[in-house]
């Protein structure tokens, strides 16, 4: 069925809504990356099998829906029962029968599956009231975790493609650009360039054709927002891109997805196929003159391809070596033609901005960073997961109110934002408001939205080494400062981790960083030293401890620590069985000892000991 007019789309939406009203209770099963790792696919199957056999009033197999990431990954697998919003967490396959018989059949709540806030001991029945969710505001993620990403009808029922209909009915391309500009939306990929201005430049470019590209190469380690959008609500990316195509006069677009996200590719492809089938992509969209089609371009595993010129070369089938951009890619981009390249989350915001208006959007957030931002919370924080919050929220609100604080109530040390181009912010920066400019002014950056929380058992010198190692592996190797400079910077950092560094090495590293920043060809090199610079800025004492005292305050750097078993040891033998070096001796139920000469400091014993009987000294 082709939807070849806006009236038909409205009619179709009404039909879908009428049909959906007959399904009173919905059981949403999260199939986001976290829940999936916990086996939520098995839970979904179990629901489907059991419900096929059972006859329950108002409940059928159709009531069960798989969704994308619902957000609260730490509590996964999640099962949510709507419209009441009953939130069951840490669900296992064996609980499914109970959920059907008690909750669905009799309306009883299963208390042990509810969420109990470890800080307040309060038990929550409804997900919206849980502090993790209560502080959030979802725009880009509005449908993620709420709809079945495979069903275009779900998207349409939730108002999908209404923004597209609106612009085709009543807005000129310039009006669209004006709304996007007025909304103040800035690129969510990290650089924070004004989306409206980018679109305007491309629209005005005389050369043809114009391309629309979506950057789904979420390469920053510690970030998974874009993955969740592509997997959980692919149509919003499509709609954002189609609106952009209308605004800038493009007929061809590509979504560049990193190859580590196979499910995103599958879900996006399904969305593209469906959109094409219904006439929302292709020639004469919704019966108008708008013609636009989309293809997926799969990355090959190269972080540098997140850089715009490298991404465009990769889409063109070449190796992803960046080119110097003295002519902006918006004028000479893909195949040297005018190109709009925006990130997944940026496109996901567009339909809402069009529908609710620029003023509505710009009233959220701060003056210079409007709207919301999606973040992935990970690391040593209680409530790991996917969140979306208004810009301007304080770091500590994210980490403590939403994130629930640090694992095991340990001490907060730093939060890493912006991935390998970003930096680490210490405890005295927790009052910072999260927006593009504030983070950049404080030696970090917004980046794409990864937030990795670190506690007192993280070594900041090691964190810097980790990122430099990452960048050395991911540098394309074209220009000298990045290829040779990051390599030497990493070597020096490693030397410090080994306790062999000197104050002179630190100075050399700082000087070298300056040249890498100002001399490198692309953003990877130009921001490459940031993790080192931000850690040495805020945690110089840790560097000095490594250099002057050969100590690792975080207890991480192997050369500088010793593991020792204390008197609490109950002789459970867990450490002994995991020790690959054969350095642990002891009999069952007797205190064990570590042979410090044999011990290779891998830390496995420490990780498996459940009773804190191993000290790091």
């Amino acid at each position: 069925m082709k939807i070849d007019s806006i009236t038909k789309l409205d009619k179709w939406r009404k039909e879908i809504l009428t049909k959906q009203k007959t399904i009173k209770t919905k059981v949403l099963i999260c199939l986001g990356p976290g829940c999936l790792a916990g086996g939520s696919d098995l839970i979904l199957k179990e629901f489907q099998t059991l419900l096929k056999k059972k006859k329950i009033k108002d409940i059928s197999v159709e009531s069960v829906k798989k969704t994308g990431c619902h957000g609260f990954c730490a509590r996964g697998p999640l099962v949510i029962i709507e419209p009441l919003g009953i939130f069951y967490s840490k669900v296992k396959k064996m609980h499914v029968k109970d959920i059907i018989e008690k909750t669905l059949q009799k309306g009883e709540i299963i208390e042990k599956l509810l969420y109990k806030d470890p800080n307040t001991e309060k038990i929550y029945k409804e997900w919206r009231k849980i502090p993790f969710y209560a502080r959030q505001q979802k725009i880009a993620l509005r449908n993620v975790g709420q709809i079945d990403p495979d069903e275009i009808t779900d998207y349409i029922a939730n108002g999908g493609y209404a923004a597209l209909a609106k612009i085709l009915k009543s807005m000129k391309p310039d009006d669209v650009i004006e709304q996007v500009s007025k909304s103040g939306l800035r690129g969510r990929g990290g650089a924070g360039f004004s989306t409206g201005r980018k679109w305007a430049t491309c629209a005005k470019a005389e050369e043809n054709p114009h391309y629309v590209l979506c950057n789904g190469d979420e390469g920053d380690p510690g970030a998974f927002m874009d993955r969740c959008i592509m997997e959980g609500d692919p149509h919003t990316v499509l709609e954002g891109m189609i609106i952009c195509a209308y605004a800038v006069g493009s007929q061809e677009g590509y979504i560049y997805v990193r190859e580590e996200y196979p499910l995103a590719v599958v879900n996006l492809q399904k969305a593209i196929d469906d959109a094409r089938k219904y006439g929302l992509l292709g020639d004469n969209i919704l019966g108008t003159d708008l013609c636009f089609d989309l293809k997926i371009s799969k990355g090959g595993g190269a972080f540098v391809c997140g850089e715009s010129s490298a991404l465009m070369r990769s889409v063109a089938g070449e190796i992803g070596e960046p080119r110097a951009k003295y002519v902006r890619s918006v004028l000479k981009g893909l195949h040297d033609k005018p190109t709009v390249l925006n990130n997944v989350e940026t496109f996901a915001n567009i339909p809402v901005i069009i529908e609710k208006g620029a003023d509505w959007f710009s009233a959220i957030g701060t003056k210079k960073s409007t709207g919301t931002k999606a973040f992935s919370l990970a690391g040593k924080i209680k409530n790991t997961g996917l969140i979306e919050v208004p810009m301007g929220i304080k770091l500590k609100e994210i980490i403590y109110d939403i994130g629930g604080g640090i694992n095991d109530n340990r001490e907060f040390k730093a939060v890493q934002t912006g991935g390998p181009s970003g930096g680490c912010l210490p405890a005295d920066k927790l009052d910072l408001e999260v927006d593009f400019d504030t983070l950049a002014d404080n030696g970090s950056m917004m980046g794409s939205g990864g937030m990795v929380v670190m506690d007192d058992r993280t070594c900041m010198v090691d964190v810097s080494r980790y990122f430099l190692n990452f960048l050395v592996e991911e540098s394309c190797g074209k220009c000298v400062p990045c290829r040779e400079g990051l390599f030497q910077l990493h070597k020096l950092n490693e030397k410090i981790c080994e306790g062999k560094g000197t104050e002179d090495d630190l100075k050399l590293m700082e000087n070298l960083s300056e040249t890498i920043i100002s001399g490198s060809l692309c953003g990877l090199g130009q921001s490459g030293p940031n993790p080192f610079l931000s850690t040495i800025m805020y945690f110089r004492d840790e560097y000095e401890a490594h250099v002057n005292k050969q100590e690792c305050p975080g207890g991480v750097c192997k050369n500088l620590i010793t593991y020792r078993i204390n008197d609490d040891c109950n002789g459970c033998m867990a450490c002994l069985s995991v020790c690959a070096a054969g350095a642990i001796k002891g009999k069952k139920k007797e205190q064990h000892i570590i042979d410090e000469v044999k011990c290779d400091r891998c830390g496995a014993c420490f990780a498996v000991c459940n009773i804190n009987a191993i000290d790091i000294i």
């Binding site: 976290g34 790792a37 390469g219 380690p221 580590e260 690391g379 990795v452 496995a604």
Partner: protein, 151 residues
């Protein structure tokens, strides 16, 4: 391992004959054989009418391509930031002890290949390990070898 070049040609013939699709064609071949057999470089270059060096350059630039055969079971250890600070190295050490190979290596009997990947986007469940495309979250290092062997 001997791969029939007709089989490779078949995969190539099913792909669009367009230089822009070079990476996609290599991905298709890798999907089929789990690596890029040596012959595939020449065959792709012929099909697309581009120099072998260009094809080889792309095959070595992108990390997802392997030019050596990989094992029956692919074990990936995520080394994203969250996984790193939550002990991904411990998993690698344990796999080395339990299976006897380091990342990037394949066991002699071609049963296992261990690879380190940069963030698979499952950071909330760190540390993460992927055995033949199945994700395992919050992996305890003492369970790593067992997970790798039993999936």
């Amino acid at each position: 391992m001997i791969i029939d070049s007709n089989k490779i040609q078949k995969v190539i013939d099913d792909s669009p004959q367009d230089k822009k699709q070079l990476i996609m064609i290599l991905q298709n071949i890798q999907q089929e054989f789990h690596y890029l057999p040596k012959e595939s470089i020449g065959l792709v270059s012929e099909y697309l009418g581009m120099p072998q060096s260009t094809v080889y350059s792309a095959a070595t630039f992108y990390k997802s391509f392997s030019l050596v055969p990989r094992g029956e079971n692919i074990i990936k250890v995520c080394k994203g930031t969250a996984c790193h600070i939550k002990g991904a190295d411990l998993i690698i050490d344990q796999l080395d002890a339990g299976i006897g190979i380091k990342p990037g290596q394949t066991t002699k009997d071609m049963k296992y290949t261990i690879e380190v990947v940069n963030c698979v986007g499952a950071c909330a469940m760190a540390p993460v390990m992927i055995v033949n495309d199945k994700y395992f979250g919050e992996v305890k290092c003492n369970r790593a070898t067992k997970l790798a062997k039993t999936g």
